[in-house]
Structure formats: structure tokens, C-alpha cells
């Protein structure tokens, strides 16, 4: 029995060791209500340096939560009665636009957004582009010769590319944006016919863009329809990959640009700090950091694109982001199992 009692006391001590940090944590997080809470669908590697620079410059502490854009939108919907986040960084404008009617975001037109092209910001300030990613065709140079890579995505239905092409599912908002752009450019019937042909030609639909970039990099697929930073990142790893910005000829669709966007959450507890953060992330210096860290395309005319192809180096698809966003629901109905 003495043994049992001594065991019990050991358990108690262990329980205390566990519970004390628990309560400390509760205390610290409730007293830390002054922290600016940022939900970011963009990857940590891209956004963390920006956060650190912001903390250094303003002295405002930031609590960062990294996740997937879609996951955060669900979380923001669930948190609507008592919002927890102040700032939301999305990987596409379309994701924000498609739920604008739920009133989750606070309109803020940042003075820093003045020089941004109109195509990459909401006139009401519900979202503002911070950088862009182009939809490109990435290829494995060991599996396909550069001159054999098609210059247009519409050539991918050719039987000689049968089974060679991979793309992420619509779980990735950037794929959904691309499909919406097709619907916008071609019209519903023609877009549907094209995608059906593409699938009949053995298109591989993978869960996400990391699968596409990994698959093309390691030779599982010859061609991948994905976002421009994926090409630069795979190339930096030493994989044999090349890139085509598709449909660049006159009258062609152009390469779609999905802007990463920043929004302020309606009901944010730290509205002033959130506004400061938005102003900060839209500044040219930060745009330059994002470009360097994550191979993104600067939307700001004053920022040089560096190693990546900038807005002036290729012809972007002429689309209206608000139209793409409002097309999202319809696009999912047209392509239910993409």
C-alpha cells in the first residue's frame, strides 16, 4: 500500500508539472490579447520574414498561424460570432471574393495600394493584392524536349501528350481560379468540352500543387500545370525542369495571374494594428522581400522582379478577379469531380 501511495504522489507531481504550464499558457494567451493575429494561407517561408520585419519596425507583436487558404475560410466562417483573427492572407483573390456576401471582411483601402494596378485590388478595399503567381506549364527536361513542349494549354489535348500532364485538384484555389478563367475566356460549353478532352487524354488530377511540383521534378510526370514559384523552387533544388508561360500570342488567353491578397477581418480586435500591417505588407520593400523569398511576381510597378519573370515580361490573362471569384461556385458545378 505504501508503494501505491508513493506511486500516487508521483502521479500527482507529474500532473502538477503538466498542469502548471497549462495554466501559465492560458494566462499568457489571454493577456496577450494585444497581439495582432494573422492567418496566412501563404507558406511560412514566404510570410515569416515579412512578419519579423513588421514586428521590428512597429514593435507590435504578431501571432502567426499558417494553414491552407480554404481551411482558414472555414475557420473564419465558424469564428464569425467572435472573430479571433485580425488579418487574413489568402493565396487567391477568388477565395475571398467567393465569400464576400458572408460579410467576413472589413473594407480598408490602404494608401499604399495607390500605385497597384486596378486588376489586383478590390475597389472597396475588401482585398488587396500583395504579390502574384502565374499559371505556367512546367516540364521535366529529361522526359520531354523543350521544343516539344506546347506553347498553349489548349494543345495539351493532343494525343502525343496522352498521360503526361498533371494538375492539382480544385482543392487548390489556384486551380479553381484557372478553371474559372477558362470558363470566362471560352464560355461554359467550350470550357467544358476542352476539360473533358484534357481528361480523356489522361490528365492526372492530384491532391495539391506540391504533388505536381514533386511529380514533375522527380520524373513521374513530363508536364505540370501549376503556379510559377513552383518552377523556380524545383529548379533551385536541382531538378531538371523548364517552364513555359503559355498562350502568349496575339488573341490568346495569356497566363493567368492569381494574386495573393491581404484582407482585414471584420470585427478584428486590433483594427489599427491590422491597418498598419496592411500598409506595411503593401510597401515596395516588402514586395521585394516576398519576391526574393518565394519567387513571386511583384504587382507593384516600382519593384524589380529579380530572377522571376515580371508582369512586363509576359502577357497575363486579361481577367477581372471579381468576375473569377463570382464564377467559382458555377465552375465547381460544371466540373464536379475535378
Amino acid at each position: 500500500m505504501a508503494l501505491l501511495r508513493s506511486r500516487a504522489s508521483v502521479f500527482l507531481v507529474i500532473a502538477c508539472l503538466i498542469l502548471v504550464p497549462l495554466f501559465l499558457l492560458i494566462g499568457s494567451s489571454s493577456s496577450g490579447a494585444q497581439e495582432l493575429v494573422v492567418y496566412s494561407g501563404r507558406k511560412e517561408i514566404a510570410i515569416k520574414p515579412v512578419i519579423e520585419a513588421f514586428e521590428k519596425k512597429t514593435g507590435i507583436r504578431v501571432a502567426l498561424k499558417i494553414g491552407k487558404t480554404g481551411g482558414f475560410i472555414n475557420q473564419l466562417i465558424q469564428e464569425r460570432r467572435n472573430p479571433q483573427a485580425d488579418v487574413f492572407i489568402s493565396t487567391t483573390a477568388g477565395a475571398v471574393i467567393s465569400i464576400l456576401d458572408r460579410g467576413l471582411f472589413y473594407p480598408y483601402v490602404s494608401p499604399a495600394a495607390g500605385s497597384l494596378p486596378d486588376a489586383y485590388k478590390s475597389p472597396d478595399g475588401f482585398w488587396t493584392g500583395i504579390s502574384g503567381r502565374a499559371r505556367i506549364l512546367m516540364y521535366n527536361t529529361q522526359l520531354i524536349k523543350p521544343e516539344e513542349v506546347p506553347r498553349s494549354v489548349f494543345d495539351l489535348t493532343d494525343p502525343k501528350y496522352r498521360g503526361l500532364v498533371a494538375i492539382a485538384s480544385t482543392r487548390e484555389r489556384t486551380t479553381l481560379g484557372w478553371l474559372s478563367a477558362l470558363v470566362d475566356f471560352l464560355g461554359e460549353a467550350e470550357a467544358k468540352a476542352y476539360v473533358e478532352k484534357l481528361r480523356a487524354n489522361g490528365l492526372h488530377i492530384l491532391p495539391d500543387n506540391t504533388d505536381v511540383r514533386r511529380g514533375v521534378g522527380n520524373g513521374e510526370f513530363a508536364l505540370g500545370l501549376t503556379n510559377s514559384p513552383n518552377f523556380y523552387l524545383t529548379q533551385r533544388e536541382g531538378s531538371p525542369v523548364g517552364v513555359i508561360f503559355p498562350d502568349q500570342g496575339p488573341g490568346q488567353m495569356g497566363a493567368l495571374i492569381n494574386p495573393n491578397t491581404v484582407s482585414i477581418v471584420r470585427g478584428a480586435g486590433n483594427l489599427d494594428e491590422a491597418k498598419q500591417f496592411v500598409d506595411f505588407i503593401l510597401s515596395p520593400e516588402v514586395a521585394a522581400t516576398l519576391v526574393q523569398n518565394a519567387f513571386e511576381i511583384p504587382l507593384h510597378p516600382d519593384v524589380t522582379p529579380g530572377v522571376v519573370q515580371g508582369l512586363g515580361d509576359f502577357s497575363p490573362a486579361a481577367v477581372n478577379q471579381s468576375r473569377l471569384g463570382s464564377l467559382a461556385e458555377r465552375t465547381l458545378e460544371i466540373f464536379p469531380d475535378f
Binding site: 499558457l25 489571454s30 501571432a63 475557420q75 465569400i99 480544385t170 511540383r213 514533386r214 513521374e220
Partner: protein, 536 residues
């Protein structure tokens, strides 16, 4: 010998039933509200459904998806049983060389999260993996000889990392049960195989079913490994719907279908278990005399050795090979030690709370079934039906609306683990309790001990190994949890699986593998300690 195997109806305690019902109803009700509120919330959300997405899904792929998911779960369960049961038998009931080593290591693959195992094996068996590269170089032919992105590949990966559930349950049942019947049967001239199928197997049935059930339900709700391996299941479809349409009513409806499936599986388990129960009256079982394998000994050792090499050695080696530099790995570990601590304490609290509640529920279910015990037991089992993401979103809505001071703290993560893994605690503890006879407790009560004293001085010492094993099980499951944690963690609070996920989506496999090895090592530690105590 005071051994007695009885085939009888579960025990009944008629005295003071009504008083007891009132006494127990309050904690039972509190626990049911706590554990079932997410499910209730889903029901409420599903009521308001008018979703075109769901209608389309019902028309086209839903039956196919359900069938495919059930097939995957069934195939994985069968594979896990055929891996885990022989290992348990070899290590407990034979003189296979190294039996204590295999007994010690056998459960360790449980510490490897299946999504990490899947990522590791892709480097070997994926289309761009080592085996296919070698094949292409050797033959010059394009194409693949093996592809992990397949139904079979998924069964392979999932069963390798879930078979320990079957192994743990059956090995401890084999240790607890007397070998007297087997010896008698053998002395009557029955062959070893016959003895196994006619004596050992029926005695093992409850623990086999408990382990198999956990594997089956794990696969139903798994998201990580199946999505790494590009398989479409019911759970990935729920996730897809959630992340494309943000249609939570449709998601709630699908989750309820999953709950119905889970209930059917639980009923099937109960039916298979039958009304029979096998208990022993003695406090302690005499260790069985091992079957002599004779000339087959060295060959028999190949089985545990191969299984350990494939399920433990290979994935760890593949993870090690992903690490680019040792100083870099050390820096990563030091840099992220805080996240390790976050994982450890949240998992430890969840395991402790889970075992406490599991003991209460298991005891009530077996000894006070009519006084709320059965309701509690069944209610808690339902928690396994909700995939992590759906549970996370449900908890966000509930706690952010009703208990905002809890929401936004790390306590949410603990609540998430506890709700997700309470079925493991209940199954584990009930399984251990089932093998102790209520007459031992009644004797203690008759000698004047109160109910709590009886539990403390008779029940707990009798099932202490089971309690410890259950604690470790819930701890490890919590250490690995990703889907609900991603949503429930407060901003700035990451756990190890979250860090691994972040590095994986950034394709920084060196960092991801380093942290995965740390996660496996830390999860394995309590398992090794508990199992060490058992074999020494």
C-alpha cells in the same frame, strides 16, 4: 487451481439500482454533453441543408465512395490482423529466438504517423522512388514495377503502422489468459494448429475485435496517409467539399453518414463478440509454457525480424536519408524544441484525462450498464466517427460561441485530442476490465471496502498494465494528431505534426524528416518504458 471459464450473461447488480441510477446520471450526462456536443452540432447544421453540391454527389459518386472506403478499411484491418496476430502469438506463446526483443519492439511502428510513413515509403516505392529508378536504369524501359499511389499501396502503408493496435491487444490478452486449456487440448492429442483455432483463437476474440475495430475506424476517418497516397475516400471527399465550397451543411450531412457507418461497425463488433464472456477469477495468470518450435526456430525468427525491418527500420532509415546535414538537423531540433514541448504536454494531459474518463466509463459499462454505463460507453465510441477536420470546425463554432475564454487557448487542442481518442481509451480499458471478474470486486465490497476504495485497491492494481498501455496509446495518438490541431491551435502555438506539415508543404523534406524522427522518438519513449516493464 481456481480458474473458471464461464459462458454466461453479463453480471447484474440488482441492489440499490435506482439510487445508483440517480447518483451516476449526473457525471454520465456531463460527459455525454462534453463528448457528443460536436456531433449534435453537426446534426443541427445538417438540418438546414439545401445544398446542390450534396445532391450532385448523391447522384454520382457517393455509393462508390462509401464502398471504396469500406473496402479500404476492411482490407487494412485484415492485413493488420494478419501482421499483428502472428507476431503476438510468436512472441508470447513460442520460444522464437529474440522473443522478448520482438515483444518489446513490436508495438513501436505505432509511433510512426501513417502520413509520415507514407511520405517516407514514397522515396522507395513511389513512381520516382528508388525501386522504380533502379528498374528503369536496369531495363531501360519506361514505366513502373511498383506504385505506392494505389489501393494496394495504401493498404500496405496503413496496415504497417496500425497493426500494433492488433498486436498490443492480442499479445496482452495472450499473456493474461491461462495456457491450461491449450495444454489440456494438447495432452488430448490435438495438433498445434487445431489448438490455436479451437482454443486460443476463441479466447482471443474480444481483444482481436477491439484491436481490429480501432484499425477499421482509424482508416474510415484517416485523412493524412490517404491524401498523401492520392486515394479518394469518404473523408477526403468531405475535406474536398469543405475546402472548395465552404459548404458546412453538406459536410455535416456527410459526417453523419460516416457516423451511421461507425455505429453499424460498432454493432457488428458487438454481434461478433456475442453474449459470451471469458473471464478469470484468479488475480494473476500463470505464465504459459511456450510452444517449442524445434527445428523451425531460426526460420520462425524471420517473421518478426522481417516485419520489424519493414515497419520500423525501413521508414526510419528512409527518413534519415532525407536529412541533408547533421549540423542543420541539430539546429532544427534546438530551434523547434518549444514545439516538441507543446506536443508533449498537450498529449500527456489528453492521455491522462482520457484514461480517467475511460476508466470511469469502462467500469460503469461493465458493472453498472443499466445505470448509464451502457449509454456512456456507446456515446463515447461515437467520437471516433468524426474526421479531425470536421471535429475541429465543430469545436470552433461551439467553444468560440459559448466558452470564448477557452477558445483561442491551447486547451482547445487538448479537448480535440481527448474527444478524438476517447474511444481508444474506452476500448483499451474495457478490454482489460473484461478479463477481471466482478466476483473479485464483490469480495472486496463484502470485506467492507467502499466503491472507490475497491476501484483503487482491487480494480486498478489488477488492470494496471492495461491502464498504462491505454495511456500510452492515447498519448501516441495525440502526439500524431494533425487535422484537428491545424484548426484548433491558437495562433503562434504549433505542435510537432503541424511543423512537419508546414515543412512538407514547403517541400523542405530535410527539416520535415528531422522533426518526424524527433516525433517518433519521443512518442516511442513511453511505449518502450511500459513494454520494458512488461517483459522484465
Amino acid at each position: 487451481m481456481t480458474l473458471e471459464t464461464i459462458t454466461r450473461r453479463p453480471s447484474r447488480v440488482p441492489t440499490r439500482r435506482y439510487l445508483g441510477a440517480v447518483k451516476w446520471s449526473i457525471p454520465v450526462a456531463v460527459l455525454l454533453v462534453f463528448f457528443l456536443s460536436p456531433l449534435a452540432n453537426l446534426l443541427v447544421e445538417a438540418v438546414g441543408i439545401k445544398s446542390p453540391a450534396l445532391a450532385a454527389l448523391f447522384r454520382s459518386t457517393l455509393p462508390w465512395l462509401i464502398l471504396r472506403t469500406l473496402l479500404l478499411a476492411l482490407a487494412t484491418t485484415l492485413a493488420a490482423v494478419s501482421l499483428g496476430l502472428p507476431l503476438a502469438w510468436f512472441t508470447v506463446r513460442t520460444d522464437v529466438p529474440g522473443r522478448r526483443l520482438w515483444r518489446w519492439l513490436g508495438a513501436l511502428p505505432l509511433a510512426i504517423p501513417p502520413y509520415i510513413g507514407a511520405l517516407a515509403f514514397l522515396n522507395l516505392l513511389g513512381p520516382g522512388g528508388g525501386v522504380n529508378v533502379l528498374y528503369r536504369e536496369a531495363t531501360g524501359a519506361p514505366g513502373l514495377i511498383v506504385n505506392l499511389y494505389s489501393f494496394g499501396g495504401t493498404v500496405f502503408v496503413l496496415s504497417l503502422f496500425t497493426y500494433p493496435l492488433v498486436f498490443l491487444f492480442t499479445a496482452s490478452a495472450l499473456e493474461r489468459s491461462h495456457s491450461a486449456f491449450e495444454e489440456v487440448a494438447r495432452s488430448l492429442g490435438h495438433r498445434s494448429g487445431e489448438v490455436f483455432w479451437r482454443i486460443t483463437f476463441p479466447l482471443l476474440r474480444p481483444s482481436l475485435l477491439a484491436g481490429g475495430l480501432l484499425v477499421f475506424l482509424y482508416v474510415l476517418a484517416d485523412f493524412g496517409a490517404v491524401s498523401v497516397l492520392r486515394q479518394q475516400t469518404f473523408t477526403t471527399e468531405i475535406f474536398h467539399l469543405l475546402n472548395t465550397r465552404f459548404d458546412q451543411a453538406a459536410v455535416a450531412a456527410l459526417s453523419i453518414i460516416l457516423t451511421v457507418i461507425t455505429v453499424s461497425v460498432l454493432l457488428a463488433q458487438r454481434w461478433l463478440l456475442g453474449r459470451r464472456s471469458y473471464v478469470q477469477i484468479e488475480g494473476r495468470a500463470r505464465p504459459a509454457r511456450p510452444n517449442r518450435l524445434g527445428p523451425w526456430r531460426p526460420i520462425a525468427a524471420l517473421y518478426p525480424a522481417t516485419l520489424m525491418a519493414v515497419s520500423l527500420g525501413l521508414p526510419l532509415l528512409l527518413l534519415l536519408l532525407q536529412i541533408e546535414s547533421w549540423p542543420g538537423a541539430a539546429a532544427t531540433v534546438l530551434d523547434q524544441a518549444g514545439f516538441l514541448w507543446a506536443s508533449v504536454w498537450t498529449a500527456a494531459v489528453a492521455a491522462t484525462v482520457g484514461v480517467g474518463i475511460g476508466l470511469f466509463a469502462g467500469y460503469l459499462a461493465l458493472r453498472r450498464a443499466r445505470q448509464g454505463g451502457a449509454a456512456l460507453f456507446w456515446g463515447l465510441q461515437l467520437c471516433y466517427a468524426i474526421p479531425g477536420t470536421v471535429l475541429g470546425l465543430s469545436l470552433i463554432l461551439l467553444y468560440n460561441s459559448w466558452l470564448p475564454w477557452v477558445y483561442g487557448t491551447a486547451v482547445m487542442v487538448v479537448i480535440g485530442y481527448t474527444i478524438r481518442f476517447i474511444p481508444q481509451a474506452v476500448q483499451g480499458i474495457t478490454g482489460a476490465l473484461r478479463q477481471t471478474h466482478h466476483q473479485l470486486e464483490e469480495a472486496a465490497r463484502g470485506l467492507g471496502l467502499g466503491a472507490l476504495e475497491t476501484v483503487r485497491r482491487v480494480v486498478i492494481p489488477l488492470i494496471r498494465p492495461g491502464l498504462l498501455a491505454t495511456w500510452v496509446l492515447v498519448f501516441i495518438s495525440s502526439m500524431k494528431e494533425l487535422a484537428a490541431t491545424l484548426l484548433l491551435r491558437p495562433a503562434g502555438f504549433d505542435t510537432l505534426p503541424v511543423r512537419i506539415w508546414i515543412h512538407t508543404i514547403e517541400a523542405d523534406y530535410s527539416k520535415a524528416s528531422t522533426l518526424a524522427l524527433v516525433l517518433v522518438a519521443v512518442s516511442a519513449l513511453p511505449l518502450l518504458l511500459v513494454e520494458w516493464r512488461r517483459i522484465t
